[in-house]
Symmetry: C2
Subunit: 223 residues, 2 copies
């Protein structure tokens, strides 16, 4: 089980060891770690190297060094980056979550949309037709429209979730479009127009339903 090459610097390795020992419960939350000199000897690295490892964990919010007092545990594990979590998740799972968010957002948008929201939606809808040459441009124009829907829902959490999904979905859609262009741009555009119209008409159920069926088709294409 020997590591092939130590592609991580010593400081990063030391940080990993420390983190695993923290996770194992060796030093509970709020507890003090042994002194730097002691730990450095334990891990077999120099003090400066150990200090860099501590700084790295401090950057992640796990440790908190206080001069004169010691190094204290402030969190037991690291909150993993969403981006990497989504990268690991299957594209189908991501789309399903996106359906959940956008359908609800569409319903809320239909209740709360302002005239300015409607103008923004119509503008994004028109832009979708004009700017769609390369797959990148097409997908980006599409994302602008979908984001406008979520924006009109007036919900920070939903908007945040949507933005978190964008990178993952964007690359997947671009890859798909490069392999197989849109079957019929007309019906695709018509579906989006129907969504915008439902929001403009303040029809929550219809808006949610339109969004759901449109994204389900995408899921079928990508899955």
């Amino acid at each position: 089980m020997a590591q092939t090459v130590q592609r991580h610097p010593l400081a990063a390795q030391a940080a990993e060891v420390l983190l695993s020992r923290i996770k194992a419960g060796e030093w509970p939350l709020g507890h003090k770690l042994p002194g730097e000199t002691t730990l450095a000897v334990q891990l077999g690295v120099g003090r400066s190297t150990l200090r860099e490892a501590i700084r790295e964990l401090a950057g992640k919010g796990v440790l908190d060094p206080r001069q004169g007092a010691g190094v204290f545990v402030t969190a037991v594990d690291v909150v993993e980056d969403w981006e990497s979590k989504l990268r690991r998740a299957s594209i189908v799972s991501v789309i399903e979550a996106r359906v959940a968010i956008e359908a609800e957002a569409a319903a809320l948008a239909a209740q709360r949309r302002t005239p300015a929201d409607v103008r923004a939606l119509r503008r994004a809808l028109a832009q979708r037709v004009v700017a769609g040459q390369t797959p990148e441009e097409h997908v980006d124009a599409d994302m602008v429209l979908h984001r406008a829907v979520v924006t009109a829902a007036r919900n920070d959490v939903l908007l945040e979730l949507f933005d978190g999904f964008v990178p993952r979905v964007r690359t997947a859609m671009i890859d798909m479009l490069k392999l197989k262009p849109v079957a019929s741009p007309e019906t695709d555009q018509a579906a989006h127009a129907a969504l915008v119209q439902a929001i403009a008409d303040r029809q929550p159920r219809e808006a949610a339903e339109t969004s759901r069926t449109h994204l389900s088709a995408l899921k079928a294409a990508l899955g």
Copy 2:
């Protein structure tokens, strides 16, 4: 207006300065920073101090030092912790997002649930009646049931999102229950039973609808 005593170590100050200069666009994404010796002189700190600052930003995922090559910018700003984002968001926004996730999860669960899922749901449903004395116990038993629904949906992303919401929703619900106990526990339990039954009967639309109305009532109570 004077800062109290709050003194950061030099390394932390150096990290802040570097981060602000990165945010200002001085070194774009993927670009290389000046060498350690150069930067140390620029900031007026020693090399080891500067190295600790770099490590701290590396821990946050902003910088990526590569031996022999240089230090590179891998992100322009720090991904804020989700927990703190949710804390800032209004409870209504959080509940609305929860509605989106759980309603979709309920529909998916109705399609994908296994017999084992149904058993787990029924067990959690029964537990909800037995263990509900203090607000904490009641809310925790409730969360177990709701989580079982999302688990049955077989979607990692949705489950991850649900777990992210739990802390925020949990405290809010406990606070509410301490002020005003549940009006009628019977109808509350009946609503949950209907949800479980819809999933067991493989009725996606009904499951989603039941979940949605139940959570909308919660939103009205908390909002």
